[in-house]
Symmetry: D2
Subunit: 378 residues, 4 copies
């Protein structure tokens, strides 16, 4: 049972370049996959730094122009881990070149970009996936399973937050490497695209489509020095974004993301309340879920603190033994393993570009509502 080789070309070597590379290397050690991934090339503009990145992670070659990489016949899959403003152009070119395409989230800076990207991969019929990695947290997958099994009954409420505190200082500059998330031209938006997009992707996966939203956004610090030019410039991104909404299934929800919640580093939380059961998960203890089953006997009914480390928990039989937790990067490993498995079977692996487009449509509606001060339909 020899495995097909799959040659990967990675674009971008930042934080996400590292998580993806780790996934490429780890997936095959822990999962039995139909493909053997090869780290064929990594591409970024700075030749010294890309060389050093390639050496560290074992990429066989480097490129400094992404167009050159897409033209290489020895590349099967283009993985986009570069800033948001590059996603659309690269993805569309890669699809047209017949490559499989994986893209870091959010798919586009807005739904228009995402639509063009989606149409490109669908026209080219190439496997495609967006790195909404939190769909591969074992505890979140377990909640999905329980929902699909009907354990919750009718859903009444969903709530999600993504709280950070790393931009509170007025002295933090904006723009440039490591800080492009604060530059609206590059990022497309602030926390709405960076953080809420995660919340929304998971929410719609678990609870179905969002139909309408009423939102508020705020930019607490109005001007920042640019990291490269040194110029003090207006801040274009949203520092905080919150919305109330309705889902197609009739449930209500609140969503909130911010980088100004002192004391929270990356606190993604989600909760879903159904007629018979409720569940809660948060990223700061990603290896646990809280689960409430109303059918438990009354006296001993309570939120069950489930340590997701057993063999019957999603993905966990591939790792260690009960009680031993996994970490953040494993979600990327799971996602890549699922992608290879699905591709080997001729299936697409969610979240596809079309799923990523659906999320961008909601974030667009959120930003629009914050401006219009009205409810906006998705």
């Amino acid at each position: 049972m020899s495995k097909k080789n799959l040659n990967i070309g990675l674009i971008g070597y930042g934080f996400m370049g590292r998580t993806h590379s780790n996934a490429f290397l780890q997936a095959g050690r822990f999962f039995d996959l139909p493909y053997k991934p090869t780290l064929k090339a990594v591409c970024a503009r700075n030749p010294d730094r890309v060389k050093s990145f390639a050496a560290n992670w074992g990429y066989e070659s480097i490129e400094t122009d992404w167009r050159a990489m897409i033209e290489r016949p020895d590349i099967d899959l283009i993985d986009i881990a570069s800033p948001n403003d590059t996603h659309a152009e690269i993805a569309i070119a890669a699809a047209r070149a017949g490559k499989m395409v994986m893209c870091e989230k959010p798919l586009g800076r807005n739904a228009a970009e995402a639509l063009a990207m989606t149409e490109a991969v669908e026209a080219a019929s190439v496997p495609n996936m967006v790195w909404y990695n939190y769909r591969r947290v074992p505890g979140v997958v377990l909640i999905k399973q329980l929902l699909d099994e009907g354990k919750f009954g009718r859903i009444f409420h969903y709530r999600a937050k993504f709280l950070q505190d790393w931009t509170i200082s007025q002295d933090l500059p904006q723009g440039g490497e490591g800080l492009w998330r604060l530059d609206v031209a590059v990022a497309g938006s602030g926390v709405t695209g960076d953080l809420l997009a995660h919340n929304i992707d998971t929410a719609m996966w678990l609870n179905g489509p969002i139909t309408e939203v009423s939102a508020v956004t705020e930019t607490f610090i109005k001007e920042r020095k640019h990291n490269l030019t040194g110029d003090v410039q207006p801040v274009g991104i949203d520092d905080a974004s919150a919305f109330i909404c309705r889902f197609e299934n009739g449930s209500l929800a609140t969503f909130e993301a911010t980088r100004y919640a002192r004391g929270h580093k990356a606190l993604y939380t989600l909760e879903i309340n159904g007629e018979h059961a409720s569940a809660f998960w948060d990223l700061h203890d990603l290896h646990r879920i809280q689960y409430f089953d109303h059918q438990d006997e009354g006296r001993v009914r309570g939120w069950r603190n489930v340590h997701i480390t057993d063999g019957d928990h999603p993905y966990m039989k591939h790792w260690w033994v009960p009680g031993l937790q996994i970490g953040y990067e494993h979600t990327f490993t799971h996602q890549f393993a699922d992608f290879l498995q699905a591709t080997g079977e001729g299936r697409s692996s969610a979240p596809t570009f079309r799923d990523g487009l659906a999320t961008d449509r909601v974030t667009d509606a959120v930003l629009k509502s914050a401006k219009s001060r009205k409810w906006e339909t998705v």
Copy 2:
């Protein structure tokens, strides 16, 4: 140092009649007060039940007509613990009769009623107070102290919830004793007035005025049998209510209340995020707060789980020794002790009727926004 006597006339003997009566009896045992409260009379329509209540709690006499009680010269203070639709009429009459007036929350069924009540007590210059008891949770008071001391710096975010699950069953009837909170004619609204009002009162006390809101409400179960008549009738209350808002100080907030959050019994939670510090409190562990101080050394910075049972915590030197927690009813005891203390010193004790009016104005705006689907100014 003989104490002045203070004769109390209580109206209503339900859940709140019990918490108030307990406060009247306990306050003097644990606090050194300028008045000695006497449980002079209790009033309710059913003579047998009011007699039994009076015997249990030690009321000296009973009345079955509240107008008769207000006319009694031996009553100094009228305490209103009857359903919401009686608040305005009783309070106004009591004020006109020159009685001190304490009223269970919400003050009115709407801001119009609350305004009339407020004008009545202010015209009569009688001490007055609304039983928003969560302002007297020691941990919440501690958060207020820390805010007043400037420990938080600029405030960015506030969030509050009040989650319950006791009305999920379709079989639960509406209306009548014990269930009047489901009857919109009696209650005025559903969770907006019953639960969100608590969240809003505390929020404005801690974080200042709310200026505008965008809200959504839902009635999940559209018809219920009436408890007394047996008729199936439309449900008029809001089962769930959520809103986003802005405070005058520039901070953003999300609020949510529901009786359809499976697994939560009375989960009032609040969190405030400032530039330098954050704090969290919830009613299910009311004797704790979580506090984050960004000035702690980086390596050992974390949310401090503070067990509010020490002598230097608000109210706690009056109770036991460190480590020994108090419960829910103590908040009423604290509030009544504060009321007597303030009255003895000729001060008013917050929350006054005017404070209760401010909350009713926000709940009115919430209900209005849910209908108009627009942002509404408070």
Copy 3:
């Protein structure tokens, strides 16, 4: 259904005098009892302070000599809340005078005293009870119910701790009012009798007799100034005490108590592990238990965090509504209500003096083992 009157004479007005008095006043408000308790007299040596205590709590009269109080024919029940060195003499005299006797724990300073006391109340056939109040925490009672129903199967392990930190300072004096617990002549022992006794009483109630122990004790601060005389004297009490042991049912256990565990105020914790289930409780969140049921489906098996505030939880239907917690002093109220109920039915109410004696036998064995450095049979 008129109630019999029960005249109480309390001896001692310290911390425990307050908790007992509160129980006498509160029990009848929340429980339907066969007796109506009357606070007839309180006794202590200092006439001014006892007068003030009587006024605060509503005692009808005072005494300054406990022998005089025991001789009063209008006293039905003697409640001993004075320091440990007075328990035996008072209890024996009270029993001989035919009074009901309630005694603060530990029963005696040692098992010899406790035995004499037990024989006295049994010879006199008077109702008697020791204030091991933690048996009346609703969550602990629930664990007892579940054990009695066989939910745990064979028991393998028990573990308990009582951690405090209030004596760490070298500057804390010993002896005299408020500090007699540090004076071995008065207290009998240090944490063994003060804290471990609580752990042991609950443990044997839940898990049956302890058969043998191996213990270690330590006095970390060897000399302290005496609070009254000012003399620096050797410290005679044990500051910390830990032991391993076997129960008659074959389970193993560890126990530990200390006043040198920085960060813990009154952290009594207990855990029991059985074949099918486990449970945990701690005093810092006394209104919760953690419960693990191995029969839950594997994927959603976890420790259930049970908020003990529902009507089907022990004692809780007498208090408020679901979600609203009670505090420390309620355990005394429950115990007194149970005592009156049992006495009215001619039953004895555990823990009786004989139960208190059993605990003193274990604490004696612990102290003996710490000296002999051998296993000691209880």
Copy 4:
């Protein structure tokens, strides 16, 4: 700065063979190391399975006789991940062959074996290390740093547990692959060597030498079927083991390990109480510590829940960004990175074989005390 190559020969392909192999592969991706590790060979008796293991992890060659592997000149380092009864013979032979030696814990089945192993590596002057991986949990390392900086002052208490529940079923067989930990001839002991050894190693690293112990052990299930032969045989291991002890620094401690604590999968907990500070850590949330600093202002003093994911936390700058947790296997990666770093600098990296010997001396004393029913000096 080209790196020296380091050729590794692994013996054993079970659970620990996987954790070690992962560490060999991951260390260089995340840490800048003086050596480039090469997975040269893996050795085990079953050729098919070892071949498959080699293919999965990328070992260049296989061996089925460990003696053959030790003789290979192209192997620099022997890593022992085979059952306990093979440790001594292999380690001594490897040392004599001049190889670096790493050995899974416990070092020997008893202190006699461990002493011979220690003398062998010291006589050969080869780098050596025991895989007590919990010394490399970032939170545990942080506690060590804080202790070394004097933040805790005088230490009064230490307590540790390791609770599991996987052997409660009577139907679980003993012996053979995957189950050799239940076979006393292979394992040396039960939970004492398997679990308590971890607790003891960390404890002595943090708190110094243990001087004397009093222990109890129990075998709850007395006979089990052998996995290979099918014969029902007496169980020789200790199912549970607990002890009280004194440390050289005067502090007291309790330790407990068991495989019969229903509800706990791998709950290693440790707590240390000092004059000024206390800390707690547990394996089920390994990315957190609880820290109490008595110097915090009284009103807001509490246990700080520290999420160990920041760049100033031990090891964490090598991984992701604040808020994103790592998992269990990372502790092995850290340990291997430290070993290579130390070896490159000519230092030894703790825990060395001599450290492993110290732990085996304590576990020997524990087992001896459980038999002698006396305190035993280490």
